[in-house]
Symmetry: C2
Subunit: 208 residues, 2 copies
DNA sequence: GCATAACCGGACCGGTCGGTCAACTTGTGC
DNA sequence: GCACAAGTTGACCGACCGGTCCGGTTATGC
């Protein structure tokens, strides 16, 4: 390929390595969480440690790239669910997909509590995801399927909550379905009682 | 090393140091989570690093002792709530206390997902706590306040779930009250729909 | 082919951490 | 008071980890 477009100044082997790296990192983070060493990831990808740092300046930026990627995948799923005829079912399916994602990826549960959030790339992806959740929630809410005071942000958070409830058995058993179901019932409008005088959910982190 | 056989009285200064150590570790773990260094803890307690290891063979055993201690505190709270006239209110208060505990202690949220569980000391304390939760749950359930298919184990897990939902703002704002409320509504029997065919909650971890 | 620069890789660096140890201090029983 | 074991301590060890660097390799344009 002579005169490749200006954007692709990467050499062919570099592209190969980068993809191997991303795949390996994704696997490794999912399995062992954020504390896998770069060496481990490099080895898994069949490349040298130095090559990893050629593509990502720090371990955090690598992790952030992968987390953001997964968030965007979930957002995409959510967007297609917006076409679904049944808003309530769509919302539940969205949350189900989200929990399944968390449960299959150890790094996610940690990403929620630790470092990676705060990275601009992750933040942007999270915002996109929240937007989709907001749309799904609004639809279900307008139809009266769920209580009216639930935000997209709430949905995202309750989703991670369900994951946490099922945490002890690392996926497999599907216990998380039980907890997602319980939580979803709490969102429904039927038994709804007014929420307590709530602090108005300060825009995520104070600043960071 | 003369046998550390039981009832061997500790020297007065050793007792002092041990207590200082426990207090410091409790603080440090709560603030920074499980990744505080032993040196940091020792410094905080005003003792030498070596002394820490004299009292606890490994970092994990120290952490386990403290986690178990806190679990027992919560269990004690639960036991007194068993006397409460209103089973539903008592259960809610129990969960509130549990979430507050988690939220105020960074190490707890990690303890749920990482290492420390599995330690026999922690396991024993967790079992005691589950027992109390079971009693509180049974009372509320018999009165029809909450759906009948909820176990004590469920309550404990949903409690940690609420904590996770509120995780982004480390306590202070009290956002967790919002999520605990939502979750508790899910437990109530009013809007209840049958739980999905659930895997019968295998006894916590396969082995780990 | 050949020149060249992009790219690779692993030895290496600075730092941290959990845990050990031998010299030293101190509480305690007599 | 004295002797001695119980207790303390911080220098030290080995392992590991994130990140750097430079000699060697290889894709690429001509």
């Amino acid at each position: 390929m002579p005169t490749p477009s200006q954007t692709h100044r990467l050499r062919a082997d570099a592209v190969r390595n980068r993809q191997a790296l991303l795949a390996a990192a994704r696997e490794a983070f999912a399995e062992h969480g954020m504390e896998v060493s770069i060496s481990e990831i490099a080895q898994r990808a069949g490349i040298g440690k130095g090559t990893v740092f050629r593509h990502f300046a720090t371990k955090e930026s690598l992790a952030a790239a992968i987390v953001a990627d997964r968030l965007d995948e979930l957002a995409a799923t959510g967007r297609t669910l917006l076409e679904d005829a049944d808003p309530e079912a769509a919302l539940l399916e969205f949350m189900t997909a989200g929990v399944a994602l968390h449960v299959s990826d150890r790094s996610f549960c940690q990403a929620a509590t630790t470092d990676v959030r705060g990275d601009p790339v992750v933040r942007a992806a999270a915002d996109r995801l929240t937007g989709v959740a907001e749309a799904l929630t609004g639809r279900a809410s307008r139809e009266g399927a769920i209580r009216g005071d639930i935000t997209g942000e709430d949905v995202i958070r309750m989703l991670t909550a369900a994951c946490q409830a099922a945490a002890p058995e690392r996926d497999v058993t599907g216990a998380w379905r039980r907890y997602l179901h319980l939580i979803f019932d709490g969102l429904r409008s039927e038994g709804a009682r007014p929420l307590p005088p709530l602090p108005p959910l300060p825009p995520l982190p104070p600043t960071a």
